[in-house]
């Protein structure tokens, strides 16, 4: 493998890590506020479908993005209604949302487009094009740094840069603003937040809706930037990988970036080399696909550092009366 190959793999890793990163940060907001969300997958899928459908209908990727965010927020609102207002089981609600998205996208897709659950292929302005960073062409011939800048960093869709920018933004919101402090507190000890006169319900809904926005962007990236249209089940377990990355990152934004890049790299390597030969031992591609899940189980088991979720996670808050 030479340098150009390496750049190519890293480039595709960054591309593949983007939806994971967005979904992972979405889960971060939700779970930091004490709402477990295994419905990331479903929200991403719904957003992918509606963003592709809207982008096709309007010819604008940006309107597609808005539609995708809207769809994800509707599902987020259902999750909020079930887990905050009606104090239902958050995990069961998440399972239901995944199924709802999985079935609904095909049922509605077939009605609208009659393509077996697909949307028509998107082209031109209906997709997010590649953004050339400034001077990308000028520095292309500089050794090492040139390819890194012009091939690896430049030439991604705008959503990749948005996702990268959301990492410091998430850190800043969570750890440097009053809203973030309260949001984290509501995931650790909602009663204390309540006593301080701040609305637990309001904060939790805010977190769940932010989660909707971010999974919405993630889904739009899948259908209008990474792919050219919606394909049945196109999220393909990425919501669960994002959840795995969240545990890996121990619910912290910068670590989330690292974990998602790692999982993106695994996916890129798995896509490129169907079978990897390590010292005469043949690693099948299925093992590479399963690796994020295996790593998560190992992390969860506490063999590599302990991952402790927010304390009030999964618990509906019942105000004392």
């Amino acid at each position: 493998m030479d340098f150009a190959d390496l750049i190519q793999i890293l480039d595709s890793a960054l591309r593949l890590a983007t939806p994971l990163l967005l979904a992972c940060l979405a889960g971060l907001f939700s779970e930091r506020a004490g709402i477990f969300d295994i419905g990331l997958e479903g929200k991403m899928l719904a957003s992918a479908f509606f963003s592709a459908a809207a982008a096709y209908a309007t010819g604008s990727a940006w309107l597609g993005l808005l539609a995708g965010i809207g769809a994800a927020m509707v599902l987020a609102a259902i999750h909020g209604l079930a887990s905050i207002t009606f104090r239902g089981n958050q995990l069961i609600s998440g399972v239901a949302i995944n199924f709802l998205a999985s079935g609904m996208t095909v049922v509605v897709g077939e009605t609208w487009f009659s393509l077996g659950g697909r949307t028509p292929a998107l082209a031109g302005p209906a997709r997010f094009g590649e953004v050339e960073l400034p001077f990308a062409d000028a520095v292309r011939d500089v050794p090492v740094l040139g390819p890194v800048y012009s091939d690896l960093l430049s030439g991604h869709s705008i959503l990749v840069y948005i996702a990268l920018a959301i990492v410091p933004l998430t850190w800043w919101v969570l750890f440097r603003t009053r809203f973030g402090l309260r949001l984290r507190a509501v995931g650790e000890n909602p009663a204390a937040v309540d006593t301080a006169g701040v609305s637990v319900v309001g904060l939790r809904y805010a977190a769940v809706m932010i989660c909707g926005v971010l999974t919405g962007i993630a889904g739009a990236h899948l259908a209008t930037a990474l792919g050219a249209g919606f394909v049945k089940e196109m999220s393909a377990g990425r919501g669960f990988i994002a959840l795995a990355a969240l545990i890996f990152a121990k619910w912290r934004p910068w670590y989330a970036l690292g974990a998602c890049l790692l999982f993106g790299l695994l996916e890129a390597v798995g896509n490129r080399y169907q079978n990897i030969d390590v010292g005469g031992f043949d690693i099948p591609t299925q093992f590479m696909q399963a690796l994020p899940y295996i790593l998560t189980v190992v992390i969860l088991a506490g063999f590599v550092g302990r991952a402790i979720p927010p304390r009030a996670g999964g618990e509906p808050y019942v105000k004392e009366s």
Binding site: I38, I97, S102, G103, M104, V107, Q286, T296, G302, V318
Partner: protein, 391 residues
């Protein structure tokens, strides 16, 4: 806010029925949205599922699958463990069936059925054992680990079928060799010829095995000491610990039984229907089990009824797709999602007004007349089966 305020019939009958009606109502809106008549769709669905012996054959075949996975999820629910891993456990159970059938030349189907059931249960239980141990000993969240194990199982099965167990003559499609003719399970047309099941229906003797399993679960949960311990642990982990019940032991046992029951689904799907191991023999039955257990309030009778309901939905959905091409069979997944949503997550939406109603009604009467709930009433997932105290 437990179910104790409500009479038992409201808890086990009225609320699930109301939830089902809500789910079907919203599904009807979806059908309306895609420009079809919901009543007509319902008629085709029900008629396709139960209107002919052919329909019944498929309906009961699906029901068999769902009884196994539903019971599996239900047993875990009783210990307040949320086993999402039914899908993976059933797939690995299928591996067990295939290995048992391919390695040993069984002389007769009856011996083969027992061997297949044992192998399926052992493999399914083994696949559940790791998440169970991690939950019991290391405090890993069982929901997350079982989800991860579904994916790992799926990757493992693809690997085994495409690289290890593949037969040369299968035309490249990843599947094992066909099982011997001697182990073919009698299907409904063989056993009950007078009922007129066509030969082509996949319903087979595994259905009886499923009913036996339901009986086993009922005896286990309500008539044995172990079942008592599982329920006690499910109601309150700390109280069970005080009573000398080991959380580690109960978590392990409940999950092993749960995984074993989910795995046994493969007896029906792999040995009874496909007669070889193909990619994804489970077809989502592991997830349907969650809906079945929730609807059935984790009681074997409820599970059988809910499994039948989902059997009707699955077979009727296939017929619906055939008759109304505008409606794809994914509509069934939407209905399934809505059933899970309304019975599992939005249960409080129906329950709370009813509780208000019954509290108000009871105040009008002397306290002694109030219905005393049976201490052994099946407590389903009505309030949070998942969150037990972390050790």
């Amino acid at each position: 806010m437990s179910g104790d305020i409500l009479p038992k019939w409201v808890d086990v009958l009225l609320i699930p029925l109301l939830n089902l009606v809500l789910a079907l109502f919203v599904s009807g809106l979806v059908v309306l949205f895609i420009g079809e008549n919901p009543f007509e769709a319902m008629r085709i669905l029900v008629n396709g599922a139960v209107g002919s012996a052919y329909g019944w054959g498929y309906t009961l075949y699906y029901t068999t699958n769902f009884i196994f996975t539903g019971l599996g999820v239900a047993v875990a629910f009783h210990a307040r463990l949320f086993n999402i891993g039914g899908e993976g456990q059933a797939a690995i159970g299928g591996l067990g069936v295939a290995l048992a059938m391919l390695w040993v030349p069984w002389p007769h189907w009856s011996v083969a059925l027992v061997a297949a059931a044992v192998a399926a249960a052992l493999f399914g239980a083994a696949w559940a054992a790791i998440p169970a141990w991690l939950q019991a000993r290391r405090g890993s969240h069982i929901v997350i680990t079982t989800i991860m194990f579904n994916f790992i199982a799926s990757a493992l099965m693809v690997y085994l079928l495409s690289r290890v167990l593949l037969v040369p003559g299968a035309g490249g499609s990843p599947e094992t060799a066909r099982f011997a003719e001697a182990v073919r399970l009698p299907n409904a047309a063989d056993v009950l010829p007078f009922l007129g099941f066509p030969r082509s229906t996949p319903l087979n003797v595994s259905f009886a095995l499923a009913l036996l399993s339901a009986l086993f679960v009922w005896v286990l949960i309500w008539r044995t000491r172990l079942g008592y311990e599982i329920r006690a642990f499910g109601l309150s982990g700390p109280a069970a610990l005080y009573a000398g019940i080991s959380p580690v032991r109960i978590t392990m046992i409940a999950m092993l039984i749960s995984g074993g029951l989910c795995g046994m689904m493969a007896t029906n799907a792999v040995l009874g229907e496909a007669e070889r191991l193909v990619i994804d023999p489970v077809q989502g039955a592991g997830f349907v089990g969650i809906a079945v257990a929730l609807m059935g309030r984790s009681h074997p009778v409820g599970v059988i009824l809910a499994a039948l309901l989902f059997g009707v939905l699955y077979q009727g959905g296939a017929e619906l797709e055939f008759e109304r091409p505008a409606i794809t069979r994914e509509l069934v997944i939407v209905i399934q999602a809505l059933v899970i949503l309304f019975t599992g997550a939005l249960d409080g939406m129906v329950r709370r007004p009813l509780e208000g109603f019954f509290v108000a009604r009871r105040r009008g009467r002397p306290a002694a007349a109030a219905a005393v709930p049976e201490p052994t009433s099946p407590r389903g997932a009505d309030n949070d089966p998942v969150h037990r105290a972390e050790p």
